[in-house]
């Protein structure tokens, strides 16, 4: 029984390390899109996706370290990402983020 638990532990560790590697490659490719991206909407979508990948990365590291302390961090990245995406979208659409007077 303890043999099974041990092999499960090592399997979880291996899988999370493989996932971390692939998510890191995905973030690097998205970084290329942010820098090169022909238009600004491309950059906005790429930045949004980088944030989602960061949330996944923090979750995987929490699994790897076997801790629950990082749960708040995932929520925090999600909220800041939400605010940032709204600000970028509004800037692209209107050219102004905080309107002076919005009837």
């Amino acid at each position: 029984m303890s043999d099974l638990v041990k092999s499960m532990d090592s399997a979880v560790e291996t899988v999370s390390i493989i996932c971390i590697v692939f998510i890191s490659i995905s973030i690097l490719m998205l970084l290329y899109r942010v820098i090169i991206g022909p238009t600004n909407p491309d950059r906005a979508v790429a930045l949004d996706t980088i944030g989602i990948n960061l949330m996944a990365l923090v979750g995987l590291i929490a699994i790897l370290l076997e801790t629950t302390r990082l749960n708040d961090v995932v929520l925090l990245i999600g909220i800041l990402l939400f605010i940032g995406t709204i600000a970028l979208a509004k800037f692209l659409e209107k050219g102004v983020i905080i309107d002076r007077d919005l009837d």
Partner: protein, 141 residues
Amino acid sequence: MIKENDLILRTTTTLIAFILFGFSIYLFLAGHSAPGGGFIGGLMTSAAILLMYMAYGLKAVSKILPINYQLLIPIGLTIALLTSIGSVFIGEPFLNQTFGYFDLPILGEKELATALLFDLGVYLTVVGVSLTIILTIANDQ
């Protein structure tokens, strides 16, 4: 030019701003023994207020929240200074802190630490600084 329609943003803001305020209070109270504290709690509060500014415009939110954010900076710094100096007067080192366990009416036995009072100063300073920066840039024509 067609008039923009941001009904979805306005409707979700009424719900999400409250969730953000609640999460900021949770982070503020969870500090000093878990992830959280004054800095990130203040950042969350300013994110919630910024979301309201983005959805409803400068004039409407200034009417709802008539707070002078520049005034929050000296208030927060004074609280932080007084709570850190307070330990000197009772013969303890500067910035020293203590904690104890108390029976609260509804919550049961909880840990209360004096570090929370110092965090309150940090919280107010962070809210004041970040919103002053953002609103100053937004007002620039």
